[in-house]
Symmetry: C2
Subunit: 306 residues, 2 copies
Amino acid sequence: MDIQARIQTAMERHFQQILAVSTPPTLHAAMKHAVFPGGARIRPQLCTAVAMVCGEDDPFLTDAGAVALELMHCASLVHDDMPCFDDAQVRRGQTTVHAEFSEPIALLTGDALIVMAYQVLLSHRAKHTLSAEHSQRLMEMMHILSQGVGAPNGIVAGQAWECESKVDLWQYQRAKTGALFSASTSLGAVAAGANPAAWFVLGESLGDAYQIADDIRDVIGHIDLIGKPVGQDAGHGRPSAAQALGLEGANSQFKHLIETAAKSVPDCVGRDLLRSMIFKESERLVPQQAYQAYLNSHQAVQVSMV
Amino acid sequence: MDIQARIQTAMERHFQQILAVSTPPTLHAAMKHAVFPGGARIRPQLCTAVAMVCGEDDPFLTDAGAVALELMHCASLVHDDMPCFDDAQVRRGQTTVHAEFSEPIALLTGDALIVMAYQVLLSHRAKHTLSAEHSQRLMEMMHILSQGVGAPNGIVAGQAWECESKVDLWQYQRAKTGALFSASTSLGAVAAGANPAAWFVLGESLGDAYQIADDIRDVIGHIDLIGKPVGQDAGHGRPSAAQALGLEGANSQFKHLIETAAKSVPDCVGRDLLRSMIFKESERLVPQQAYQAYLNSHQAVQVSMV
């Protein structure tokens, strides 16, 4: 089974196990709407890939970590899309949760998904085979996940930096996106009983790369790639690397981060495979052809205006 | 140290330990605003009281459970007060979080408090003295807490029932308030290594009583008691026991639930003390003098209208 299929199966299994018939029907439908069909599922992919190359001995624990990460990510999207933030109508090519259901339901859906992330991990506690060492892994995973999401430095804090008048761009982006990426690689390592510290840089640099890629795409405009409207950063007056560094500077920084990520992969059996995954993902994040096309047309406009 | 002082100390300690200087300042201030000064802290009191009468052997674990419960409760208040729900301006005698800060900050504050509840419990995992059995207790506590908050039957689901056109009043109230009350007594029992099942009815009936008391006060009007505007249930078209049973029916039901709660306390050293606490709390919830005064004046109006 490839990683994407494995993640999809795990997502569906946990949804079925946790959401009983007594869940209020609209909430149930909204939670599903927020999570299925998914986007790239990049965070659970990262978690699973790292656990696999670390020689995982408890695939269900890896899966629980992967699903929990994706639920947290989906929760943050549902809340970010709400009128008091982005007021977005479209996400992943379908209507956003508040647009499809209502604002109250969107608010509750995010809350329920955050709690569900922990429920998924905790469902593993009841396993008869759970040794003391695996209990420690489980708690460490919940701790890492919490750090990636909550205060002081998780994605919720990242969003909160948008409400400050004085913001450090890197601290903001590190929290807003990087925190859950480094949680993803660390979670995968812990699930496999490996040292999470060795995998931290991979998650951190991929997170930074992903955020810059988002800023670049927001400028060059690829709604088909990201499934949401472009030009939102400038529209919301949000800090952006493409603004701070210029488009070409941002693209150079993006390439540098991808190189850093690839180099950081520790010595392990699947090292080459993982590195090739990273380069493939980088092309999906910022298609260099589209980037060049935008750059050329933009320069042409500047020349014609002289 | 009395229970209230113990809870206050634990709340402050965990706030100081988890929220580092790198927390975005507005989020930090809003999280504090949401939690301090507190209301009656009834859920952490219940948790602590049950753990104490069960002969707790790890007071820090009890405290972590108590604090986690209160953080979840505060998170739900912050989100419930937002414009898409109650649009409340006052809570516990001070401005609500969205009114004091902003809607985005209120949304993030609720999210961060939910995650912080788990962070508080997980902070206990690093204790050197944590045995395998205490690890199990910790995970069981997180599981119970999640059930009290999330889908399918926690307080978030309770709120979501308000968005359904067809609602069972008891299922709604059981989830909206009862879920976190039964989690409170169960958490206290587990923290002390006792059987949570024996303490479930106490939490459940107190939760039901508390919800009915809320409905009664919403009619008889005691803003000084609850620190929020009265008449909200009718204004928001929300299901209410006072409407369903009539005011006198609701008051009888309230008294019956308090009796049930007191009778349910299992045989233990502090049984009498706990029962007297319950009766004292019941008088705070629905002051019978105020209830009678309202009833008399209401009957007088009816008589004069004949």
